[in-house]
Point group: C2
Chain length 151, copies 2
DNA sequence: CTAAAATGGACTAGTTCGGTCGGATATAGA
DNA sequence: TCTATATCCGACCGAACTAGTCCATTTTAG
């Protein structure tokens, strides 16, 4: 699998939106949720975590909302994911967690850790700014010719 | 997260073992399970999947067991994982699955797919043979000086 | 014939995940 | 000062998934 969680997805979508509209003032959780059809209260949680992680700044009260905590170029996809889902690990074990039943006898740990490093580097070398630069703007309906979908 | 499943772990451990002992005759599921403290019947299922996927060959009956289906150098970690856990996907959506609620409005899909490609390439470029070459042999207790573990 | 092995389906307990609910606090603007 | 609109935060819930179990069948070497 290696799939990232829905919360992490939502976080990246929100970060990308805020990066693309960095000029505008704070954007509310509600506005983001409606723009992307994300359950509002869940997105709110995600945004709060991003605030705790220092990736966003929040402004409470009427006309409040969220703004990037740092320049988009200085925040990586890896950071966003880690703030939401915790440490990036491919295996159950890590340098500080030997609790896996197979730890002592495991014969694939080292090579897998090395693969993990490559994955982390792929995620770390992509900045939120790059996410935002990737596609035109939001409402510009991405009219790419969708390939025929067969079940 | 991005963690791979326990079954995939078990599969890799087994593949590595069989690659390292490719000279010997078939190894039984039971023997593998005992060597690595893996629940026997679960490992059996995993091995069966690997057979279906063509990565292993099985011999039934007394003194039966499993052997590599191809040279270890011709099987990648990516293949093993896919045979066990299905297609490698980072996002809920893919080229053939647009069922994600956010698909139409998603603004991070393309960059994430590109990251996925990098991950797949990391997994595809590591062969089972490399796994096996990585550490000495099995019982040679890896006496690496374990760093002090705190909490 | 028998013991050891793979095969394969059904089932279960536990955990995680996505999502919801409710209340508390903060604040801009009328 | 009052109110609508926000963030904040903890508790909760159902569904899906995961790891693991159980059991019955088939194959085959000795």
């Amino acid at each position: 699998m290696l799939r990232l969680s829905k919360k992490a997805d939502y976080a990246l979508i929100a970060m990308r939106h805020l990066a693309a509209n960095a000029d505008r003032s704070a954007v509310s959780a509600r506005e983001l949720a409606e723009s992307y059809d994300i359950p509002g209260e869940l997105l709110a949680k995600v945004l709060q975590k991003l605030v705790h992680g220092g990736l966003l700044e929040s402004h409470q009260g009427t006309r409040g909302g969220y703004v990037l905590g740092r320049p988009a170029a200085a925040m990586s996809v890896a950071e966003v994911i880690q703030v939401i889902d915790g440490p990036l690990t491919v295996t159950a074990c890590s340098e500080i967690d030997h609790s896996c039943d197979q730890f002592s006898k495991c014969n694939v740990r080292d090579p897998l850790w090395r693969i993990k490093d490559r994955i982390v580097s792929a995620l770390s070398s992509t900045s939120v700014a790059e996410l935002a630069a990737d596609m035109p703007a939001l409402p510009a309906s991405t009219a790419m010719p969708v390939a025929v979908v067969r079940k």
